[in-house]
Symmetry: C2
Subunit: 200 residues, 2 copies
């Protein structure tokens, strides 16, 4: 919530600015309109000899659960550079970012995941400060019941299905919370508006 | 700039929070850390009978210059839905969003463009309130010297080159300002770290 103007400190009010069609936070002092926009999470599904590089999280949320390296894109960096930086930070791994694998929107939390396939350079990896452990796991040993987030689960499932079918695709889709049950129950999520385009 | 805390209104200071490695705006009152992250611009290169749907802008910046429909992704919508909404608003056109065409980062203004190919449904289109005129232009009639933004110019150039080569690709790249001359001079920009993957 933007209750106070980040620029002048005066209180904001929620209203539709002239010429707009959505409610924004508008400063009652300097009249600046403050927009709220989705954040980008960038990540890498890292192909390494023997499987994929996965991290068991050492921080909340989802402490102790598994994910591929991913995190918020920072100002001033590209999607690919951000995905590689997160991989270096969380998995101490130097990677070559390859093709986009999945563009997954999570509208109810205003996040968009941009997940790349990547390839481990060399053989070094290890747990960064946000990871308890980092391992190369064969795709038939992915801990599906212990994954951190629905976006991670869905992106990995698409990857594994593509691998089994001998294809590479770029996916678009919406991570939809079906509403019943806990937001932490990955079984309560489904992929909607899914479209896949095959890479040559 | 985040000078005042959007949550409590107290002044913020710029410092590196404990456990972080970047300068953030941290509230001197409630201690909340306020992150600044890139915004997503979504757009459509719309294939219509006879060419591409292009809009001459009726608003600043770049008033009077040409673009494909594009704008900021809003909270609560998917990339594809946002791209379709912008196309409806700016070009009064109902489109089917197809494959991703280009993921273009503009680090110096903290924006990432996600540009899709799309197909006009039906035959209706027209100028929305942000457009002076909307036209279907053959790809050999694109007004290269009168395009609005370097991202638009680069995305269209990639599209036209792919079309001429009889291929479809998904592009990644960084829109880099070479530094000399005006930020409004499209010739001063170049595409860096370009990678293209062919769609089947």
């Amino acid at each position: 919530m933007i209750r106070f103007c980040p620029s002048c400190g005066a209180p904001c009010e929620e209203r539709v600015p002239t010429g707009d069609n959505r409610t924004r936070a508008v400063c009652t002092g300097c009249a600046l309109v403050h927009y709220r926009n989705p954040n980008i999470v960038v990540g890498c599904i890292v192909e390494a000899p023997g499987g994929l590089l996965l991290c068991r999280r050492a921080i909340e949320p989802a402490l102790g659960l598994w994910t591929f390296p991913a995190g918020f894109l920072e100002n001033g960096e590209s999607l690919a550079a951000g995905a590689a930086r997160e991989t270096l930070e969380e998995a101490r791994a130097d990677v070559e970012v390859l093709a986009p694998h999945a563009l997954l929107d999570i509208p109810h939390i205003a996040q968009t995941y941009v997940v790349f396939r990547a390839r481990l350079r060399g053989t070094d990896f290890g747990a960064g400060p946000e990871s308890q452990v980092v391992e190369v796991l064969a795709t038939d040993r992915i801990p599906w019941e212990e994954l951190a987030f629905p976006s991670v689960s869905l992106a990995l499932r698409l990857y594994v299905d593509d691998l089994a079918a001998g294809r590479q695709q770029v996916h678009q889709g919406v991570v939809h919370w079906t509403g019943a049950g806990s937001r932490y129950d990955l079984a309560r999520y489904e992929l909607r508006d899914h479209r896949a385009d095959s890479l040559a």
